[in-house]
């Protein structure tokens, strides 16, 4: 056991250095979407250097047992209750979302920033998924025949465009009100009425042995009590050689650590990352290499 840990240390130090480097993941978007990401700003704020991570094991894909953490991993909200059945959401978060669920589709309401950011997130997803699955990016419905799950779908603001792009979408959310809103709105358009909405959690889907070509969970991981478990569940929902997209707001040191470390160091599947940058003059979001504020990451699950 000790020798295994010692073996991992140089690799981990290398990864720390890698993450601190400004442009770790060169981004090449498909030409048709170059218009979206034309404002590829080089970050003049280097990503915050991560303190040396936990010298714990870094397990490979989901088939491994739960990761062992050493004492210095208190930066994760890792608690003893690592049961995979329990919902990973924190209760105050649930209540907060319940309260404003009515305004999901009001593009001028509290969710306005999300509505403004939506096309940019979709551009990233479209670009990476088309490239990974070899789909034609100039097609109007490139995800035809693909099964995608939107974990933490809220009112369906991401699920509906994905359905319009041809995917068979399943949207899950722990807040029942969100699912109801999403259902009403999706039924307005025959194209989106095929979306399957369920009030459940990723863990429960894993129990039901559901598998998807792509698992997408945007702006969720910062609300999750146990990010490591959550990432494991997401990974379990993905088919081999499937895709996994996660995004989060980098609000604090801990958020960064939570997201990056959970995703990269434990599951090390991240293939491509991009930051979101907001232009206050135009009110538009664009993709950039600056991941210090808000970022989205795409990775694939190794085949068996």
């Amino acid at each position: 056991m000790a020798s295994k840990l010692l073996h991992r240390v140089p690799w981990l130090l290398h990864r720390v250095g890698a993450v601190s480097a400004p442009l770790k993941y060169p981004r090449t978007l498909s030409p048709t979407l170059a218009a979206f990401a034309s404002l590829r700003l080089l970050s003049d704020v280097a990503p915050r250097p991560l303190p040396v991570a936990a010298t714990g094991n870094s397990p490979p894909a989901s088939t491994s047992p739960a990761p062992q953490f050493s004492g210095s991993s208190e930066k994760f909200e890792h608690n003893a209750k690592s049961s995979s059945v329990r919902s990973s959401l924190k209760d105050p978060e649930l209540a907060k979302f319940s309260a404003i669920a009515d305004t999901w589709w009001d593009s001028e309401g509290p969710f306005k920033p999300l509505h403004l950011m939506n096309p940019t997130r979709l551009a990233f997803i479209r670009s990476t998924l088309c490239r990974h699955f070899g789909k034609d990016p100039s097609s109007a419905r490139p995800f035809e025949g693909m099964k995608i799950v939107d974990v933490g779908c809220g009112g369906g603001i991401l699920s509906e465009p994905l359905a319009r792009m041809g995917a068979s979408v399943t949207g899950v959310d722990a807040v029942d009100k969100n699912i109801k809103i999403a259902r009403i709105h999706a039924d307005l358009d025959p194209v989106t009425s095929t979306i399957e909405y369920c009030c459940t959690t990723a863990e429960k889907l894993v129990e039901e042995q559901r598998k998807f070509d792509a698992v997408i969970s945007l702006e969720v991981i910062e609300h999750v009590a146990d990010p490591a478990e959550f990432c494991k569940s997401l990974s379990a929902l993905t088919i081999p050689e499937g895709a996994l997209v996660i995004s989060t707001i980098n609000r604090s040191m801990r958020a960064y650590a939570t997201a990056i470390v959970a995703a990269e160091y434990l599951l090390h599947w991240v293939k491509e990352m991009a930051g979101f940058v907001h232009n206050p003059l135009t009110g538009r979001w664009s993709l950039s290499d600056d991941i210090s504020v808000n970022f989205i990451a795409f990775g694939t699950k190794k085949g068996q």
């Binding site: 048709t32 218009a35 551009a123 100039s138 465009p161 359905a163 109801k180 009403i184």
Partner: protein, 504 residues
């Protein structure tokens, strides 16, 4: 007679029963419909109402160019489009006889528009018919104090523009769309009323009331009783746009106290230059059309316009030649203050066509078409878009013809809108959504307003005969003629290469 139909209008909201949320669709929605035709509800003929992605109201040049543009892009060619225009030519085709003399209704197409036409594959249908490129342009006024001569080689291009008859443009766009693999349906009818679903509405389900912005459809009623649904209604129906009125867009603008007399004339030999002379009452423009023909656009006050329209052909030809030549004032000399004028060292070392010297336009030999008169005005819609509606072309803006920009702005709108629609489909958005349509407005409005302001400025500057102002205008002519960066910028902007008139 209209039959008043009672819809299940419930402004408060509708209770939608839904049992299971996982996997089962909830009960179908319906809601209140806000009538934009003053409460009258027409009956729709036919059993089922067809649904289209986009309904283009107005099948003129700009409307058809939008349809062709959508048909040419892979992201949008799957869309189902309805074109609503009562002009029978859209269904029967436009027959053009090459032996006919040119129609007086022509448009000057900028190089930017020409390349857009090539991109959508419509230019090939235009080439067999009469069209004339011109690579030179001369602008002067009646005071004889200055002139400007533009040449395409000043910007390293082959031409400054192309003059094409409107019927040729329309025919080529129609052929383009007919030969495209594109789902379209032409409705030979007029739009009578439109129902939109603006704003938020309340929906109730299991006691949960929510404000939902409806991604619903617009409903159009046509004059022959047909109805159709569309996600997006595009108003391309000209300066008296019905769509603009029904959607409640306000406009700003004023009428110029000027009318334009338009006709085709013939010369003894080919004319290859565009000429424009500003006279006290308004400019006269002579545009080459090919085959020794030219098009005249002569702006003047309404009384004179009526006189000139009703006078005999021979007299009219005489007045035209008079206006282009010695009438109203002398010819400008090559330089204002002699050979070493103060402007000559601005363009030092760079040969410009300013050195080409002033030329007299070719004499008109005879009139080749009827004379038409149109009133001129400036009009601009305060908004171009709202939920489910977008305006393009003259429906959004009307300008003075003095720079031949009007229809080019319209084509610019059409191509910008089709690109924005393509981008929205790429990210799976609903094409009737206001946020994406606002992107189109944000792109086109500043450019259109800038152009309108400049044209209006010119119109006002040239309508005053006042000594110091005349000298200023002359200085302007000289500056444009001899300062080559300025000249390049002017040509570039007028050719559509530059979107805004800045030195960027």
């Amino acid at each position: 007679m209209f039959i008043r139909k009672s819809f299940a209008v419930n402004l408060g909201g509708i209770r939608v029963r839904s049992r299971c949320l996982c996997g089962a669709a909830a009960a179908g929605p319906s809601g209140s419909i806000r009538q934009s035709n003053h409460g009258q509800e027409q009956q729709c003929s036919g059993t089922s109402i067809a649904q289209y992605d986009i309904a283009i109201v107005g099948g003129g040049m700009v409307g058809m160019s939008l349809a062709c543009s959508l048909a040419s892009m892979p992201l949008t060619k799957h869309l189902n489009v309805a074109i609503i225009d009562s002009n029978p030519a859209l269904v029967n085709g436009i027959r053009i006889n090459k032996q006919d003399p040119p129609d007086p209704r022509v448009s000057t197409i900028t190089p930017a528009t020409t390349s857009m036409f090539r991109d959508i594959g419509a230019w090939q249908y235009l080439q067999p018919y009469r069209h004339a490129y011109f690579d030179q342009m001369q602008v002067w006024d009646y005071t004889g104090l200055g002139y400007t001569r533009y040449h395409a080689r000043d910007v390293d291009k082959d031409s400054l523009g192309c003059v094409v008859e409107n019927k040729v443009l329309q025919s080529s766009l129609l052929l383009c769309i007919q030969n495209a693999d594109f789902q379209k349906r032409i409705f030979p009818s007029r739009l009578v009323s439109m129902s939109l679903n603006p704003g938020l509405k309340s929906k109730q389900m299991d006691g949960i009331s929510s404000e939902i912005s409806r991604a619903d459809l617009a409903k159009l009623h046509l004059s022959d009783g047909t109805c159709l649904y569309a996600k997006l209604v595009v108003g391309a129906d000209g300066s008296k746009s019905q769509v603009r009125e029904l959607a409640g867009f306000k406009t700003t603008g004023w009428n110029y106290s000027q009318n334009a007399v338009i006709c085709t004339v013939e010369h003894a030999s080919e004319n290859q230059c565009a000429w424009q002379r500003f006279l006290p009452a308004g400019p006269i423009a002579l545009l080459p059309m090919g085959d020794n023909f030219s098009n005249i656009v002569w702006t003047m006050n309404p009384k004179e316009a009526l006189d000139r329209k009703s006078m005999t052909e021979i007299d009219f030809v005489k007045t035209v030649n008079h206006a282009l030549d010695h009438g109203f004032g002398p010819h400008p000399t090559s330089s204002l203050l002699g050979k070493g004028n103060i402007f000559s060292w601005f363009g030092a070392g760079v040969p410009t066509s300013g050195n080409g010297g002033f030329e007299i336009p070719p004499k008109v030999v005879k009139l080749a078409s009827e004379r038409m008169v149109f009133p001129l005005s400036l009009r601009h819609a305060n908004d171009y878009v709202s939920k489910h509606v977008a305006l393009i072309g003259d429906a959004a803006h009307t300008v003075h013809p003095l720079a031949g920009q009007g229809v080019n702005l319209g084509f610019g709108d059409a191509f910008a809108l089709s690109r924005v629609i393509g981008e929205a489909i790429a990210v799976g958005m609903d094409i009737g959504e206001a946020s994406l349509l606002k992107k189109y407005e944000a792109e086109r409005k500043p450019a259109n307003i800038a152009m309108m302001a400049i044209l209006d400025g010119f119109q006002k500057a040239y309508s005053v005969d006042f000594g110091p102002l005349n000298i200023l205008r002359a200085a302007g002519f000289h500056a444009a003629n001899y300062i080559s960066p300025l000249k390049r910028s002017i040509i570039s902007y007028a050719s559509g290469e530059q979107r805004l008139p800045l030195f960027t």
